[in-house]
């Protein structure tokens, strides 16, 4: 028997954690919203950089299992959203030092100017002090999010991610990228 595992996004001040596996959720956008559809695009600035509202994502696990540990995340190594766009993750340390996951107590609601830009996470998220390129982490070398061992239903630490949009970016909805969570499980 394997654990039931879903990906959740935290929104609001609470926060409220929502399973984004059941919807096309997790869109990086210009609102604190886990399923904005085509609403709240990130405006391309005339100069400088705009940002998505940062996203807080974690694994939630339930069902029957003995343990879950070694939780990592990776991409295909190639962000296909054109020039001027990057997707970053945050770290509580002043230099990237995995594991990079934040605890529930370290959650901070995303802020910004709705419909235009989020606030940059290093400058505005109380518990983020550095950032790195999420797409530099691949299946061959994934990013460690949480090194805890979980032996009962619950949730992992959360990763904070954000999209940077420079004035050189091109407009339009982009093709969804694949971001994969990985963990080791004893049934």
């Amino acid at each position: 028997m394997a654990a039931t595992v879903v990906v959740e996004e935290g929104n609001g001040a609470g926060p409220a954690w929502t399973d984004i596996s059941t919807s096309i959720g997790g869109h990086l956008c210009s609102a604190d919203n886990n399923n904005p559809g085509t609403s709240y695009p990130i405006k391309i600035p005339s100069s400088g950089t705009n940002y998505s509202y940062w996203k807080s994502h974690r694994l939630a696990f339930s069902g029957t299992f003995t343990s879950i540990e070694n939780i990592k995340i990776y991409t295909d190594g190639s962000l296909g959203w054109g020039t001027g766009v990057t997707v970053k993750f945050g770290d509580t340390d002043t230099a990237i030092s995995p594991p990079v996951g934040l605890t529930n107590a370290q959650y901070i609601q995303a802020t910004g100017t709705e419909g235009e830009t989020g606030d940059e996470m290093v400058a505005n998220h109380t518990n983020i002090n550095s950032s790195g390129d999420l797409f530099s982490y691949t299946s061959g070398s994934p990013l460690l999010v949480d090194d805890s061992t979980y032996t009962s239903a619950g949730d992992s630490k959360h990763i904070v991610i954000q999209e940077d949009v420079a004035d050189t970016a091109s407009s339009g909805q982009k093709t969804a990228e694949t971001i994969t969570w990985q963990w080791d499980e004893v049934a």
Binding site: M1, V6, S21, S23, G25, S139, P142, W181, D184, A187
Partner: protein, 121 residues
Amino acid sequence: MESNPLNLYYWKVIYDNGETLQEIEDGKTHSFKEVDLDKLVRLGWVSDNPNLPSYFVNLESFQRPILYRRRGIHALKKNAKPFTIGYLLGWQSTINGRNYKSIMFIRPDGEITLASRDIQF
């Protein structure tokens, strides 16, 4: 690497008295918590598919078992379900204060890599 179905292999343990316990047995699913580690002498991954090999490791009293499914799930994907990346099987021991490991990384296609630390498939 993705594979379906979710549980291509299931674990099996053999005790010092010859008795066995399997993750799936007689229509019932067992948790690894039920395994009596004090009596464990051999453990591995087995499949109901006769075309797939079984993998076992013998354990000495000073060796702690390593047995994991490495699983994944795609974020940002509608109706995403977890999938199996591969299987880990081996042992760990602390000898004279040093940590030793020997781990088989078993891909669903049967390819094996033996390593002394955690590696990616």
